[in-house]
C-alpha cells in the first residue's frame, strides 16, 4: 500500500492555478525525487503536503498513511508523520534550538499518546545526531536559525528531521546554498534516515544532490503536472539535456 497517494491534485494561489492535476505514489522505504524548472510547482507541492494554508486546493485527493491529508492542519500532519525540510528555514529569536526541538518532539509524542521526554533523555540523543551532522554544540542553545549561515540552517533542518523521525520527509531544495562539503554532510544525514518504513521526497532543481542521495524514482514536474517519470538515470539525462525538451513536449501535448 502507498504511504502517500496523490490523485489529480489541483492547487491555486491568488486564483492562479499552480498544480494542474498531479498524480504521485510513494511506498514506505522509497526515495523519490521531484525535479523541474523554476515555477513548475515543486515548492507548492512540498508546502501543500505540509498543509500550508496560503494555498487553495481546488481538486483531487491526497491519502497519507490511509488518512485524508488535505483535511489536516499543519500540526496534525506533522504529528501524523509529515516533515518538511524548508527551503528557507525561519528564525525564531530568543528560543534556544534544543528547547524548540524538545517542545516539538514532545508535542508529537503527546499527540501519539506517548510520555513526554525529559531533558536527561533528550540531550544525549540530540548530541549524537548533531555529531552525525558535524554540528558544533554551540547550536544547542543558540536561537533557532538566528545568525546561522545558509548551510547551518539546512543542517539544522536535517537535524530536526533526524530527531522527529517522520514517516514522510519532504526536502524542499535542501541543496540550494550549500557548498560541496556541506552538501555531502547533509546527504549523509539524509541517507542515514533511509529505512524500510520511511519515504523521502527530494524536491530539487539540480541533479547534483542526487549524486549523493540516489533516488528510486525521478519525476519531472512541468507546468503543474508530472510529465515524465523514470529511474535515477532520468536525472543524469536531464543534466545533459535540460528541461527544455520536456517543456516543449508538454506544450505540444497541451496544444494537441
Amino acid at each position: 500500500m502507498s504511504l502517500l497517494d496523490i490523485k489529480d491534485l489541483r492547487v491555486t494561489v491568488d486564483d492562479h492555478e499552480i498544480l494542474k492535476g498531479l498524480n504521485l505514489q510513494l511506498k514506505p522505504g522509497e526515495v523519490h525525487s521531484i525535479m523541474g524548472p523554476n515555477g513548475s510547482g515543486k515548492s507548492t507541492l512540498a508546502q501543500v503536503l505540509a498543509r500550508r494554508e496560503t494555498f487553495t486546493v481546488t481538486g483531487g485527493q491526497v491519502q497519507f498513511n490511509g488518512k485524508d491529508l488535505l483535511a489536516m492542519k499543519p500540526e496534525e500532519a506533522a504529528c501524523e508523520g509529515v516533515f518538511l525540510a524548508f527551503q528557507y528555514p525561519v528564525e525564531i529569536p530568543g528560543i534556544g534550538n534544543a528547547y524548540f526541538l524538545r517542545s516539538a518532539l514532545n508535542a508529537i509524542r503527546k499527540y501519539r499518546g506517548q510520555d513526554e521526554m525529559d531533558a536527561m533523555d533528550f540531550l544525549p540523543m540530540l548530541r549524537e545526531k548533531m555529531k552525525l551532522l558535524e554540528m558544533d554544540e554551540k547550536y544547542l542553545n543558540r536561537s533557532v536559525n538566528e545568525g546561522f549561515s545558509g548551510g547551518e540552517k539546512k543542517r539544522n533542518e536535517i537535524l530536526q528531521m533526524a530527531m522527529l523521525e517522520p514517516k514522510l520527509a519532504i526536502l524542499d531544495e535542501t541543496d540550494s546554498g550549500l557548498d560541496i562539503d556541506a552538501l555531502r554532510i547533509v546527504a549523509a544525514g539524509v541517507n542515514a534516515m533511509r529505512s524500510p518504513d520511511r519515504a523521502i521526497l527530494v524536491v530539487t532543481h539540480y541533479q547534483r544532490l542526487l549524486h549523493y542521495i540516489v533516488p528510486d524514482r525521478v519525476h519531472v514536474l512541468v507546468d503543474g503536472r508530472i510529465e515524465r517519470s523514470g529511474g535515477p538515470e532520468l536525472a543524469l539525462q536531464l543534466e545533459e539535456t535540460g528541461y527544455a525538451a520536456i517543456e516543449a513536449a508538454a506544450r505540444g501535448a497541451s496544444r494537441g
Binding site: 494554508e53 499543519p74 500540526e75 506533522a78 524548508f86 525561519v90 516539538a104
Partner: protein, 485 residues
C-alpha cells in the same frame, strides 16, 4: 491564514483569573476630595504634623493644577475625563487597631492572598521572599520582619514607617519625586494612604527578596500608594511588586509614586509584574494606571535597575526613570508591555546623565494584539558635565494581527560631545511563515504564538528574579486572550 487567525483568537479565551471580590467590611470615607478629606486621611493614620503639612501643600498645588487643566494630555492614550469628586480616596478593611502579627489579619483577607498565589503565612511562602500586602488603602501585613530586622533592614508599610522612622521618611520623602512633579504625583502626595518602605543600612546586602503585593478590592475607590526605598552606602536590595484587581465595569484610578534612592556603591533592583484588571474584550472597565516612578543614583558607582512586565490595566502611563548623579553610576530599564483588546500603554523611561562616566541601558519590548495601542516613549539626556556618558537603547515592537498599533517616541538630548549613544529599533509582525514553521514541527498555533512572544521578551525576562520569570511567561500567554481581531 484564517485558521491561524481563529486559533489565535481562541487562544486563552481565559478569563481574567484574579477578578473576584473579597467580602470584608470596609471603613470607607465619603466620595470627593477637599482639605477635610486630606485631614481625615492623615488623622486616620495618626500622622505627625510634617506629613499633614506636606499633604496639604500638595493638595493646594493640585487644586491649581486642576483649575488650569494641567492633567497631562501629551501621552498617546485616550479616555473620558476623570471626575475626581466622584471617587473614594480611602477604603480599608476593618481590623483590630494594632496588628501584632499576621494571626490578627482577617482570615478572609488571608484567603484572598492565598487565592492570588501569595500565601502570607511564612511557612507557606516562597523561601527567601518577604512580602508586604497592601489591600485597598492599607497594608495588612508584612512577613519576615524579624529576620530582616536582624540584618538591620527596615521593611514595613509606609504608615508604619511614618510612625516608627519619621526621621528617615522626612529626610527622603519627595526628594526624587517632589509633590510638584506632575498632576498625578501631586494628587498622590495629597491623598496617598499606604505603600511600602524599605531602608537598607550601610554595607548591608538585603538577605532576601522584598516584595509588595497590591490588591484593589473596594469599588469606586482610587488606589494611591507610595513606595520609598533607600539603599545606604554600599547596600543592595532587590524588590518586586505585583498587583491585581477585581473585574468591574467602571474604570478605577491607580496613581502611585515610587521613589528610589541609591547612595554611594549601592544597588537597587526594582521589578514589577503589573496585572491590574485590563477591562473586558470590548474595552469596558479596567484600571487607569498613572504612575510616577523614579530613582536617583546619588552616590558614586551606584546602580538602579528597573524591570517591568506590564500586561494589565486599561491604560498604562508610566516612565520608571533614573537620575544618574553619582560618577560611574548605572541606570537600567528593561520592559515588556503587552496591550491586547482595547488596552493602551504609553510607557518608557528617562535616563538623565549628570555624573561622569554614567551608563544607561534601555531594552523595551512592546507587544500589541487585538486593538491594543502600545507606545514607547523614552528620553535620554546627557548633561554638560556628564563626560564619558554612554547609553544603549533597544526598542522593539511586535504586532499580532491587523488592528493594533505600535508607536515609538525616543527623545535624545546630548550636551556633552564625549557621549556615546546607540539606538536600535525594530518592528515586526508574527508572520505566517514563523507560525507555519512551528506548526509544521507539531506545535499548536497557541503554543507557537506563545513561543514566539516569549522568545521576543527573553532579554527582559532574564532580568527578573527567577521565581517570577516563570510567572511572567505564563501571564503573558494568558494575556494574549483573543489576540487577533
Amino acid at each position: 491564514m484564517s485558521s491561524n487567525t481563529d486559533a489565535i483568537r481562541d487562544l486563552a479565551q481565559q478569563e481574567y483569573k484574579w477578578g473576584f471580590v473579597t467580602n470584608v467590611s470596609e471603613d470607607r470615607i465619603p466620595k470627593g476630595l477637599n482639605e477635610d478629606v486630606i485631614r481625615l486621611i492623615s488623622a486616620k493614620k495618626s500622622e505627625p504634623e510634617f506629613m499633614l503639612d506636606w499633604r496639604l501643600k500638595a493638595y493646594r498645588h493640585w487644586e491649581t493644577l486642576e483649575k488650569s487643566h494641567a492633567e497631562p494630555k501629551w501621552a498617546n492614550v485616550h479616555y473620558s475625563p476623570i471626575d475626581y469628586q466622584d471617587m473614594i480616596y480611602y477604603a480599608a478593611p476593618k481590623q483590630k487597631p494594632n496588628l501584632q502579627s499576621l494571626d490578627d489579619v482577617d482570615p478572609e483577607i488571608l484567603r484572598t492572598y492565598e487565592k492570588l498565589g501569595i500565601p502570607l503565612q511564612e511557612q507557606k511562602m516562597l523561601a527567601g521572599v518577604a512580602v508586604d500586602a497592601v489591600f485597598d488603602s492599607v497594608s495588612v501585613g508584612t512577613t519576615f520582619k524579624a529576620k530582616l530586622a536582624e540584618a538591620g533592614v527596615i521593611f514595613c508599610s509606609f504608615s508604619e514607617a511614618v510612625q516608627k522612622h519619621p526621621e528617615l521618611v522626612r529626610k527622603y520623602l519627595g526628594t526624587v519625586v517632589p509633590y510638584t512633579d506632575n498632576f498625578f504625583a501631586t494628587l498622590n502626595s495629597a491623598v496617598f494612604s499606604d505603600g511600602s518602605f524599605v531602608y537598607v543600612p550601610k554595607g548591608v546586602r538585603c538577605p532576601m527578596e522584598l516584595s509588595t503585593y497590591f490588591r484593589i478590592n473596594a469599588a469606586e475607590t482610587g488606589q494611591f500608594e507610595r513606595t520609598l526605598i533607600v539603599a545606604d552606602e554600599g547596600a543592595s536590595v532587590s524588590y518586586l511588586e505585583g498587583c491585581t484587581a477585581p473585574i468591574r465595569d467602571e474604570n478605577q484610578l491607580h496613581a502611585a509614586v515610587v521613589e528610589l534612592i541609591a547612595l554611594g556603591d549601592a544597588q537597587i533592583k526594582y521589578s514589577t509584574v503589573q496585572n491590574w484588571y485590563p477591562g473586558d474584550k470590548n474595552g469596558k472597565g479596567g484600571i487607569y494606571n498613572f504612575v510616577t516612578k523614579r530613582g536617583a543614583c546619588r552616590g558614586k558607582n551606584s546602580k538602579i535597575s528597573w524591570t517591568q512586565v506590564e500586561t494589565g490595566s486599561a491604560i498604562t502611563w508610566k516612565y520608571p526613570s533614573c537620575i544618574l548623579q553619582g560618577d560611574n553610576s548605572v541606570g537600567e530599564f528593561y520592559s515588556v508591555a503587552l496591550t491586547n483588546n482595547y488596552q493602551q500603554a504609553d510607557t518608557g523611561t528617562k535616563m538623565i546623565h549628570i555624573g561622569k562616566n554614567t551608563r544607561s541601558t534601555i531594552v523595551s519590548k512592546g507587544i500589541s494584539a487585538g486593538h491594543g495601542q502600545n507606545t514607547y516613549r523614552g528620553q535620554v539626556k546627557i548633561m554638560k558635565e556628564a563626560t564619558g556618558a554612554r547609553n544603549y537603547t533597544q526598542c522593539d515592537s511586535l504586532l499580532i494581527g491587523e488592528q493594533c498599533g505600535a508607536h515609538t517616541f525616543p527623545y535624545i538630548e546630548v550636551k556633552n560631545a564625549t557621549a556615546r549613544m546607540e539606538h536600535e529599533a525594530s518592528t515586526s509582525k508574527i508572520g505566517e511563515d514563523q507560525l507555519f514553521y512551528l506548526r509544521q514541527r507539531g506545535l499548536k498555533t497557541e503554543d507557537a504564538v506563545s513561543m514566539i512572544v516569549n522568545g521576543f521578551c527573553k532579554r527582559v525576562f532574564r532580568e527578573l528574579p527567577m521565581e517570577f520569570a516563570v510567572e511572567a511567561q505564563k501571564l503573558l500567554s494568558v494575556s494574549l486572550e483573543g489576540s487577533v481581531g
